[in-house]
Subunit: 194 residues, 2 copies
């Protein structure tokens, strides 16, 4: 046992991701994680009191990695139309690269994220809140005309599902996808402009 | 054998749908269809020279039933914005009722429709052609301002996937769905208006 190295939650989560990658979601256990860290499983439980809390933390870490660059765009103060477009394109690219680069881990994370949805605020809600922020900025800047900002944010999220919802991932390599994305974004941006 | 009743392609297709419903797609054979019709399987093959051609005809018949009311709206000559909205709502309702009323047969038809896609023109192309017709009417009426009618039609189809693509069928009973549909349609109609 190597308890000399400080066991941080971050270190446990890193190793848990490795273990999930090697053993798969169905087979990976807390004991596997402890063994990979060369600590007792009690040491892991000190930071994550249950397997469920560990799984939830892995999901949250994954979602935070997707969320961070989006949040940054949402919190900027530049012209809202360009930010809305950039936010959407960043979302599509994040989903696309994760699915295409590592489809198995994507499925694992997706399952964990769905489980965590009750505990962590659903990722989707976090994302639509960011669109609400951009739309509100655009209204304040006088470039967007929107009656119901919240409903419109949800509509923009729904209307771009084809490009960010994993159910459509098998189309994300299609040659015509960039043109379809452009056409949809142009339509939506026209739909909100003042 | 009851060859007295005239064996029409329509009658064969009706009975084939019953047979598919009873035996499932994997198990149903042309012999089952002939037996249900009380004719020889040669009589079926006279109208449909292969199992593949029979399956294709079943798919086409199903798609035509979805398509007919939509085509009618596309071919009308009234104000385009109302027609576009009605066309989309009719599409959503058609998919929704088919999935919710009979999910197993929906899966069967969907598989057949995908198989038939190379032979019959893909249903999706037929549908976007109808949106092209409505958008073109709107431009002629001076109520829509659209640069690329074809790309915009595809974008409208993509942007409403959440409400017509079977991958999202598990949301179609959600209490907030009607409000989400309204918000998306309002956004898209604003996006094309002159």
């Amino acid at each position: 046992m190597n308890e000399a190295v400080v066991l941080t939650p971050e270190r446990i989560l890193e190793v848990t991701e490795d273990v999930l990658r090697r053993f798969g979601l169905a087979k990976a256990t807390v004991v596997d994680v402890a063994r990979a860290l060369d600590v007792s499983h009690g040491s892991v439980y000190r930071h994550f009191p249950s397997k469920a809390s560990l799984r939830e933390a892995v999901a949250k870490r994954w979602l935070d990695r997707i969320d961070a660059p989006l949040r940054q765009i949402a919190e900027e103060k530049g012209p809202a139309p360009a930010r809305l477009e950039r936010w959407l394109r960043t979302l599509f690219a994040a989903k696309r690269s994760r699915v295409l680069d590592d489809p198995e881990m994507f499925d694992t994370y997706l399952t964990l994220a769905r489980e965590a949805c009750a505990a962590v605020k659903c990722h989707k809600d976090t994302l639509t809140d960011q669109v609400v922020a951009i739309l509100s900025d655009g209204v304040a800047q006088g470039v967007f005309a929107i009656d119901d900002v919240k409903a419109t944010a949800r509509a923009i999220y729904d209307a771009t599902s084809r490009f960010h919802h994993p159910a459509h991932a098998d189309e994300w390599k299609d040659a015509d996808l960039p043109a379809r994305v452009d056409a949809t974004l142009a339509l939506l941006l026209r739909g909100v402009r003042a």
